[in-house]
């Protein structure tokens, strides 16, 4: 006959006073992604947005369904290349502004496209 070592279903003492207050665990997806169908992750390789906290190696959460506003951080397509910059206006013209004094603002052409709006930055330390 085998005798179990522990009867671990029997609990002694008082029940935990926190038991009734247990909620779901924190879910980063729910916190960071409002529109899953239109949200994409992209990885940054350059340093043009360093002063906005976007470092080489950062991962951006990009929502394509959002409309970009003045000062939105956006992923844009310039001359068939992706880039992340801040969208802004200069004398009524649309520009992409880097957040690094090393780089110059880029004037948006009609053929350029705003691909999506950056909603969060993931940077691992």
């Amino acid at each position: 006959m085998k005798i179990p070592l522990f009867f671990n279903t029997i609990k002694a003492g008082f029940p935990s006073p926190a038991e009734d207050f247990i909620e779901d665990k924190l879910n980063l997806n729910h916190f960071l992604i409002e529109h899953p169908a239109s949200t994409f992750f992209v990885k940054v390789s350059g340093d043009s947005m360093i002063n906005a906290g976007i470092l080489p190696g950062s991962i951006l959460i990009v929502d394509r369904s959002l409309d970009p506003h003045n000062n939105s951080t956006v992923v844009a397509v310039i001359d068939s290349e992706f880039t992340v910059k801040r969208l802004g206006y200069l004398k009524n013209e649309r520009y992409l502004f880097p957040e690094n004094p090393k780089y110059k603002p880029i004037k948006l052409k009609d053929s350029d496209e705003i691909w999506g709006v950056v909603t969060a930055i993931i940077t691992q330390l």
């Binding site: 899953p36 169908a37 239109s38 994409f40 992750f41 992706f82």
Partner: protein, 417 residues
């Protein structure tokens, strides 16, 4: 009212969404093993026919600067799910017909149908980068026709309603019968032999004759051309009744060992689908064949192995698959393709316990399988796997020009400056 939303040149459009250099350029996508063309951007259509074998068209690809890519089904499936998700925000009653087409019912949708569908189209394009066309009509068959009309005519802005067609009969007279949904090559050939070439002739054909000379299905098509719905929306969320995983190899395979790896791998893929729909299966059927080049010796065979009990326990499915394979394997052939079918699919609560196997430990096996499924869902397929699927998989299909799994793998994200 039924609407059909269909993605324009879907595979090529998915590639463009992540690679702006492909915009306005001719693009073709090759099937697994880079065999033949399975999708073309509109710019490529005038140079390359659908299904063109890649090796015969290399000169054409170069001459016209055509971008050639291997199919990236992981990406296409993810983009398809996204488009479905957006569509479901607009309508409740929806049938996913294929990876790039869905029918949905507009009954009870408030507002103007065309305006609603234009809004849907705009949202899909903005959110995913994929252009879609939408045809709206009283029947599925006509919705399909309207969809083509929307695609071919830019002034429709991608959405076309059947009742907006000014002269329907004149339009149908110009539409060859082989372009009608569910009228395949065989039926259209026989219709032509009876003097029916255009869709107006088919629409006005005698019902009794159609029923007699063809089938009830063809009669349904004719009825649908007359604006009477016969094909209901099918609930595509129901479980599949058989599951297949099949792929040709990247090289000729001769040894039993390599075939065993392939059969184990395909069984695992089929099992993924079985788990997803929470079913059990009763039989594993395995097919193998050589290439069709007769000079190398042709052999093709299949064998169906019954399981002792209906189950979803992967080791038992793999064992049955390998047993079936041993039954049909003959040395001395260059094998090109293997297929695995799971048959006798039932809901798990309907599994008939085989009296001889009352000690089949469903509870334990279920627990193990659920854990394997969960781990692989979180970490990628084959994150944990049975050793028989092999590690090097030298037989694996070639896809040398595949783009990244931009949306499903952290290591393959789109990189931007």
């Amino acid at each position: 009212m039924i609407a059909l939303v269909d993605c324009n040149n879907f595979f090529a459009s998915c590639e463009r969404a992540f690679n702006p250099k492909l915009k306005d350029k001719p693009v073709v996508i090759l099937s697994s093993n880079d065999g033949c063309v399975i999708s073309r951007s509109s710019e490529a259509k005038k140079y390359i026919p659908m299904g063109a074998p890649a090796y015969q068209y290399e000169e054409e690809f170069n001459k016209h600067g055509i971008a050639v890519l291997s199919a990236n089904f992981t990406l296409y499936a993810d983009m398809s799910n996204r488009i479905n998700k957006i569509t479901r925000q607009y309508v409740a009653d929806i049938e996913t017909y294929s990876i790039d087409e869905s029918f949905f019912n507009l009954k009870g949708i408030p507002g103007d149908y065309v305006e609603r569908c234009r809004a849907l189209r705009k949202e899909v394009l903005k959110s995913t980068g994929i252009p879609v066309s939408i045809g709206i009509a009283p029947t599925k068959t006509l919705a399909k026709i309207c969809n083509h009309y929307a695609k071919d005519n830019k002034d429709t802005q991608g959405v076309f309603l059947w009742s907006h067609l000014s002269n329907k009969d004149e339009f149908l007279k110009k539409l060859p019968v082989e372009h009608v949904w569910n009228v395949g090559y065989k039926i259209s050939k026989r219709l032509n032999e009876s003097g029916i070439y255009n869709t107006y002739q088919l629409k006005t054909a005698d019902y009794t004759w159609i029923r007699k000379a063809f089938s009830v299905n063809t009669l349904r098509t004719v009825t649908e051309l007359n604006e009477i719905p016969c094909f209901e929306l099918e609930n595509s969320n129901g479980p599949r009744r058989n599951i297949m995983s099949s792929q040709s190899f990247g090289k000729s395979v001769t040894t039993l060992n390599e075939l065993e790896e392939a059969v184990s791998t395909y069984t695992t893929r089929a099992w993924d689908k079985l788990m997803e729909q929470k079913s059990a299966c009763g039989y594993v059927s395995v097919g193998i064949r050589t290439s069709y080049h007769k000079d190398m010796g042709f052999y093709s065979n299949y064998y169906t192995q019954a399981l002792e009990v209906s189950t979803w326990y992967l080791p038992d499915l793999i064992a049955a698959g390998l047993k079936a394979l041993k039954n049909i394997y003959k040395p001395g052939f260059n094998y090109k393709k293997a297929s695995v079918f799971l048959l006798g699919i039932t809901a798990r609560d309907q599994v008939n316990l085989n009296l001889l196997n009352t000690d089949y430990n469903y509870k334990k096996y279920n627990k193990l399988m659920s854990v394997v499924e969960k781990i692989n869902n979180e970490n990628g397929s084959e994150f944990i796997k049975y050793a028989s699927v092999g590690i090097q998989k030298k037989w694996r299909a070639k896809s040398e020009k595949r783009s990244q799994a931009y949306t499903t793998k952290w290591s393959e994200l789109l990189t931007i400056n």
